[in-house]
């Protein structure tokens, strides 16, 4: 970064909020997907919407690429600073601006940690429903950018369902208001369109979300199976029985062993092939009946054991194992590639079998932990990045797994986003015409192409260029 640009950024946000020291930049060279590393040329940490707008305006006029970053928990490399981009961090924008209890809504800055919002809302009997597994660290700005999911999205839906309004700094620095509860302009749904745009359309600096009443009660069970396919079939059975649980989560034997060997041990037996967590929530009345029906379905489907959590502590323990599964895997291999794909729920057993076969064929350890109710798979490929040959097998196996999911009518990412990692797969699932249309909308939002370049769209995908085509 040249000294003039640096001086202008310092003038906008103060000297303490512009990081250029190499050691400090190291923290930002990777995100939750550790096999990619790109050191940013600087990190800027604005403290307000106005400051962020000034920063983006300066970078735009200097023609310098930039990328927004929250907590850096993303799993597709979406917040990486490709091409010497400058990171615009939202760390200081961490205030809950408004908690509007009668209207069940909150207005927050993008750096607010997901779980902190529910913590603030729960004394008022409210909660923020989308709960990514990283909710104790990930930020709402990142959740909006990725349209994040989570275990309870089966019943409650993903992030975009809850985002009702946004204040966005466009890639040239201008601040715009989109949507907002209580206003309806009848125009296009730009709030929904911005959601999941992976930081490529601008940076959200204020986010208005809808909150829900806290569920009065919850019931959780853990069903153990001696095959992954049987657990997958039980999931379809529960849905086919007419139930919509709050969550249906599966862990395979590899994951269970990793969890049990870690500090997050939840008391799962290690000699089973799959564990299924089923949770119902809502009005307390009727939850016991629903849980009993699901328990019976699991037993009919070949569960070797079903444990019902007796109280809040046991529930929390069951969930701790599930939510910390990714962290626990650090014990079994130096590196982990968390894959993310969705298939129609009814195809789960078949697809799980094929994923196992691919892992075996490539001699890779694959640990599955996933949102089975949504058909959202997360095969975790364990490897050592220092072993180039193994890395190459991971790459090839990943691609085959994506192909299997697409073949089953699914898609290449359910909640982690395309980022840098899945650009190469996008054309497997989208036609050239759709990719071209996506390049066009990117150009509409970011004509200069400075806002998170090198993400989402594959190389070579461009809007139609000829004048008469425009």
């Amino acid at each position: 970064m040249d000294s003039e640009l640096q001086a202008r950024l310092i003038e906008a946000v103060g000297p303490g909020a512009v990081l250029t020291d190499r050691d400090r930049l190291l923290v930002y060279e990777s995100d939750g997907l550790t096999q990619y590393r790109y050191a940013p040329s600087a990190v800027v940490l604005p403290g307000s919407t106005d400051e962020l707008s000034r920063v983006v305006g300066i970078l735009h006029s200097a023609g310098h690429p930039f990328v927004a970053r929250g907590a850096g928990t993303g799993l597709s490399g979406g917040a990486l600073a490709v091409d010497g981009a400058i990171v615009v961090g939202t760390t200081r924008l961490n205030r809950i601006l408004e908690l509007d209890v009668p209207n069940r809504r909150a207005r927050v800055q993008p750096g607010v940690v997901n779980a902190h919002l529910t913590r603030a809302a729960s004394p008022h009997g409210l909660h923020y429903a989308p709960d990514p597994s990283s909710q104790s660290a990930c930020t709402l700005g990142g959740n909006v950018a990725e349209n994040s999911g989570g275990p309870h999205c089966l019943k409650y839906g993903v992030t975009c369902r809850y985002v009702t309004g946004l204040t966005v700094v466009l890639p040239h620095g201008e601040i715009v208001e989109l949507g907002g509860m209580g206003r309806e302009d009848g125009g296009l749904d730009l709030v929904g369109h911005f959601g999941g745009s992976e930081g490529c359309f601008g940076i959200a600096t204020e986010i208005e979300v809808a909150l829900l009443p806290l569920p009065e009660g919850a019931r959780t069970l853990l069903a153990l199976f001696d095959s992954l396919e049987a657990a997958g079939a039980a999931v379809s059975g529960i849905i086919a029985d007419g139930f919509l649980p709050a969550a249906l989560e599966i862990m395979d034997s590899e994951t269970i062993r990793a969890v049990e060997a870690s500090v997050f041990a939840a008391g799962y037996p290690e000699d089973v092939e799959a564990a299924l967590v089923v949770e119902f929530d809502g009005v307390d009345d009727g939850l016991d009946e629903e849980l009993e029906a699901a328990r019976q379905r699991c037993l009919d489907g070949g569960a070797t054991e079903v444990r019902v959590a007796a109280g809040a502590d046991e529930r929390a323990a069951l969930w701790r194992g599930r939510k910390k599964a990714f962290g626990a895997m650090g014990r079994i291999a130096p590196d982990l590639l968390v894959q993310d794909a969705t298939v129609p729920r009814s195809r789960l057993p078949e697809v799980l079998g094929k994923i196992r076969e691919i892992g075996d064929r490539y001699g890779l350890k694959v640990a599955n932990v996933f949102h089975a109710g949504d058909g959202n798979l997360h095969p975790n490929l364990l490897f050592d990045r220092r072993d180039e040959e193994e890395v190459s097998r991971v790459e090839r196996a990943s691609r085959e797994m994506m192909e299997v999911c697409i073949e089953a009518g699914g898609t290449i990412t359910g909640e982690h986003g395309v980022g840098i990692d899945k650009r190469k797969y996008l054309s497997l699932v989208l036609s050239d015409a759709v990719l071209e249309a996506m390049a066009q909308v990117k150009e509409v939002w970011d004509p200069a192409g400075l806002c998170n370049p090198g993400k989402v769209l594959p190389d070579g995908v461009r809007p139609p260029e000829t004048a008469e085509e425009r």
Binding site: D100, P102, N103, R104, G125, E146, C160, R161, E174, E177, L178, M181, G182, R183, E184, D185, G186, G187, L188, D189, L190, H193, G195, G196, S197, C200, P213, E216, I239, A240, G242, L244, G282, V283, D285, G286, E289, T342, P344, S346, G375, N376, T411, G414, L426, V429, L430, S431, A433, V434, E436, A437, M438, Q440, V441, K442, L457, P463, E469, R470
Partner: protein
């Protein structure tokens, strides 16, 4: 308005030849917002025909308007003033019928744009499932219409907006490109979200051929509790009280007399308070135990309901309310924060005056802050423009917005309408241009609004 545009006749003839005479008929342009006239409606039989039609429309600079059940796109564009751009040709998507890829265990299906909500509902009901979309117009509304308009009904409280139920869609855009967007799985973030951009875009980007939708298990209980109330304001207060209970109610509505007619019919009428000027309805959808519990809470908060409808009767009454909301020459949509619902109703009464209000009909969703007003004479008369202008100002003062959905041109001329910032207007314009560079699909847009 047509200055500089070529004569549409030769283009229309080319399309007629292309599709064959059997696929074309002359119809009266629907909708009170239009300068009523006649227009040719064509029904392309398949994807190839739609693409060929769009190619000719581009070459001949024809304006197309997609039609489903005819309930939506004649409605007024949201911004600016001036009439709806008249189409040169109506394009019916009724040939795109049927339900595909329906695997009940997946709780998803794909439906043609021309399929009605009723037909989809019947298909999924057999498997104990439901499609929680209830826009005004009830079961006659087509899937294409739901996607194009993106209009929610009372079930929005419990199930979310249409945009949350549309998983994917298939369309031919204004460039003639066949776009298969999204997918048929419930979680999908592969690329930018064009599905949400298209949902509610009022036909501005392309002709929608079909959509993949999310389904829900049909609850064991479908029960409507109904309280007759002797005054609309009091009903609104009661509605807010129920909205503040610490539960998510699937649907909560406050209606005036006309909205209750379906309920009177279902219950056979009679009893104390029959023909009451207002009512509060709560629709419960869930398990027997949960519904019983919610009913207890509602009774504690609002007293015993005047009637309880179960099963088919509950669903039919909801359809009847939805159908009645799509009637009327003029309709308004007032949107405020939910806790300002009662104030919005007061503002409305003051601005319209009691005479006008009594001749119109009102439906309020107190948990969403949405107020719909409709009637044949809502804004009739020479002073209508002034009335609407005053209403708009008063609603703005309480932080809300008002929009004329359908209405006579002289009346709407006085409303400022929502004014997007230049930057937002620019985004709309450029997004539209990306998909429809020749402006053959004016849908949501007025001439010169920018």
């Amino acid at each position: 308005m047509t200055g500089g545009r070529p004569d549409p006749e030769p283009g229309v003839e080319r399309i007629q030849t292309l599709l064959g005479g059997a696929a074309a008929r002359e119809v009266v342009l629907p909708g009170p917002g239009s300068e009523t006239g006649r227009c040719l409606e064509v029904t392309p039989p398949d994807l190839d025909a739609v693409q060929a039609l769009v190619r000719v429309a581009r070459e001949e600079r024809l304006r197309l308007r997609p039609v489903g059940a005819g309930a939506g796109l004649h409605l007024l564009p949201p911004w600016g003033s001036g009439p709806v751009p008249e189409p040169d040709l109506l394009v019916s998507l009724r040939a795109f019928q049927g339900v595909k890829d329906y695997e009940p265990a997946d709780l998803t299906l794909r439906a043609g744009a021309g399929a009605t909500l009723d037909s989809v509902e019947q298909t999924v009901a057999v498997h104990g499932q439901m499609l929680p979309l209830d826009p005004p117009g009830a079961g006659e509304v087509t899937i294409g219409g739901v996607v194009a308009m993106g209009t929610a009904g009372p079930l929005v409280t419990g199930f979310g907006r249409p945009r949350d139920q549309v998983l994917g869609l298939e369309m031919v855009d204004g460039r003639g490109r066949h776009l298969a967007l999204g997918g048929r799985v419930v979680k999908n973030v592969a690329g930018f979200d064009l599905v949400r951009l298209m949902t509610g875009s009022r036909g501005a980007f392309g002709l929608i051929l079909g959509a993949s939708l999310r389904l829900f298990p049909r609850p064991v209980v479908d029960r409507t509790l109904w309280w007759r109330v002797d005054d609309l304001g009091r009903a609104a207060r009661m509605g807010r009280r129920l909205a503040e209970l610490p539960f998510t109610l699937p649907a909560l509505e406050v209606q005036d007399r006309v909205g209750q007619e379906g309920l009177e019919t279902s219950t056979g009428g009679g009893g104390e308070g029959e023909g009451a000027p207002a009512g509060v309805m709560v629709r419960l959808l869930g398990s027997e135990s949960a519904s019983r519990r919610l009913e207890r809470e509602l009774r504690n908060a609002a007293g015993a309901p005047d009637a309880t409808l179960d099963g088919r009767a509950s669903a039919d009454a909801a359809l009847s309310r939805s159908r009645v909301e799509a009637t009327g020459v003029t309709s308004l949509l007032v949107q405020v924060l939910p806790d300002r619902s009662e104030r919005a109703l007061e503002v409305l009464a003051r601005a319209l005056g009691s005479n006008r209000l009594e001749r119109s009909h009102v439906a309020l969703r107190p948990a969403a802050g949405t107020l719909r007003v409709w009637g044949d004479e809502l804004v009739a008369g020479p002073e209508a423009g002034e009335v609407l202008g005053a209403l708009e100002e008063a609603v703005r003062e309480i932080g809300g917005s008002v929009r004329l959905l359908a209405g006579r041109a002289p009346a709407e001329g006085r409303m400022a309408g929502a004014r997007p910032s230049a930057a937002v207007a620019g985004l709309h314009r450029e997004l539209r241009r990306a998909f429809d560079p020749d402006g053959i699909l004016p849908g949501a847009w007025r001439e010169g609004w920018r």
